[in-house]
Symmetry: C4
């Protein structure tokens, strides 16, 4: 059975509370939506419990799940737990995952008819790890929304085996992004929010 | 005559002050507009006094009214008191009511020519109690604005006897929403604000 | 020569500092723009000095001017001082004046080709003193921008002698509003900001 | 070799931290983007290190560089250091430089097809040092984005030798602005943000 260090868990739970407050204040996690996690080790991660106000998270609102989504501490894991564990299992370098319902991600995924959002030529692309020039583009995959999370996790896994994926959208639902640690993950989220805002504004301008 | 527990009243008055501050900071209650209430028991509720700055409510700005809208403590009940008591009388499960003048609710109710706002397919619908999938839709009734609150309360009552109503809009005026308690009520309000923001943005995109 | 109570001046200077902070945080007074005043008595008022950061006003940034715009305490009166004193001289009931460069007022005054902004049918009109129903309309005069403040003050005075004026706009510049005291004045400003936001959004929707 | 006063450096480092927090909270410096500097003397300036969260700058995130961009204290100078030192070398009156990735500057520079952004007739132009009337216009140069900062610095220098330049944009990237000191520089930035917001809104209105 997966084990973890309780001091490490407590510290990462506090980090999730702090980032929840930031995401909530940014309007990205309204009405108890969203879920966030940080890897504890190869076998388990700290994850937000389902249904909590994301701007007022307390350490007791964070639980530990193993990479199959079984809870190792008390709490009700998010229905979307497997979308977090898929990422940790797929790539050992992923240390944190933020999923939000930001208006930009909900709207851009709804409006875009293709199965990816193409973003090209903006300086802020360089905020994403591994990108060193604005003279590039990224395609953010868009998956149709579903209540079958297990099936969606498999779809994500298949796509990530085929191409470099920096983040993905779920249509009319929100964004998943990640990084080596929570700071990098949040930097990616902030950059993608700005990039989606640019694209949405261009659409408004027709 | 209706009676109430004064400690319970004081605690709920403090909650109304706190939620007033949040609603005001969100821009939903400008210029002393809006009114909020929490049920005390079968016979009465705590309600904001008329004409107060909603971001700076103090416990003395909250009064108790019975379900006919008569004040049981000092204060000037809102002109819209009967829209609160109608809800408490109609459904014993309703424990809190938030009415705001948020820009999204004012604008969507003005723009929408039908007598309901149709919202469909967004993940955030699941933040509303009783909805478990995004593959659904809700119709938010829109009533024409009036200064005859008693007549409007009857209209609302009639409609709620005929169909499931999660919230309603008053045209060019604002939104009424409710829940079993103030936390659920606010979650509904946040979700509806997000959903109306999505719909308004789609209208801007043409 | 006009005289004033120094304790009264100090209290009103503190109020102007507090409202400056609110207006700045709302984005209505960027880049040291805007000026605010409160009447001290029949003969003079407290007024913000020119060129100060409106979010960080200190009591020493407020001075006293008489109703001809002469300074009675140290400080550099705003170039627009006469637009404040015109209002106090015109109507003994006016106790406070807020002038801001809010984006809504700058844009609506620029876009509107007529010499008034017509606002009709919104519930929030009732936040303006003397209006008791949404079934009404107001016309906010729009004056062309000028650096000749004395001439503009006369134009305003002439118009106010002819019709009820709740506030006015200066094209591409900002809004002037007032009330019996600073609280009412700010309520009017908040209401007008909301009303202009509604109108601007309708224009965006085409 | 360039020398500097360490107390002066520490005070200016604290100022850069404070302005970083403001720029970040305004949404102008997301995802560790942006860089800011204050002149120390003829030969060197205090500058933000590369890759830091701009809302949480600490004094140790600020370093000193000479006017050729060599670091005189520990830290990793921004890749865009030469765009700061070009300004200090070009004009002895420039005391501070703020470069941000604000959405308004990114979008207006992307949308505008000419090599300058023309801004005319707004009262807030008067917030820029040397402008005393709204009956004027300014042209903000727009340079194409590049990763060759040395070449861009020369382009800027050449243009500034030919015409009065109040600020410049880099396409899809951000804005550079400056002033005699950090307060004036920030006032310019706030004014330009407002002016770009006006112009962007007019484009949305078609």
């Amino acid at each position: 059975m997966a084990s973890f260090d309780s001091v490490d868990f407590h510290q990462k739970a506090l980090q999730l509370c702090a980032y929840g407050q930031i995401c909530y204040q940014n309007g990205w996690s309204p009405a108890t939506s969203s879920n966030y996690s940080i890897r504890l080790n190869r076998d388990c991660c700290a994850l937000t419990s389902s249904g909590k106000h994301k701007g007022r998270l307390k350490p007791e609102d964070i639980l530990v799940v193993d990479m199959q989504g079984n809870e190792l501490t008390e709490g009700k894991p998010s229905a979307e737990t497997l979308l977090h564990t898929q990422l940790y299992q797929h790539d050992a370098n992923i240390g944190a995952v933020l999923h939000t319902h930001s208006p930009n991600s909900v709207l851009m995924s709804h409006i875009t008819k293709q199965d990816y959002l193409h973003i090209e030529g903006w300086e802020l692309l360089k905020a994403i790890e591994g990108i060193n020039t604005h003279e590039t583009s990224i395609d953010i995959p868009i998956f149709d929304n579903t209540q079958n999370i297990e099936a969606l996790a498999k779809e994500v896994d298949t796509l990530m085996a085929q191409q470099t994926v920096y983040a993905y959208l779920i249509r009319g639902h929100g964004i998943y992004t990640w990084g080596q640690n929570i700071e990098e993950c949040f930097r990616h989220l902030e950059a993608l929010e700005s990039l989606m805002h640019y694209e949405l504004t261009l659409l408004k301008l027709g």
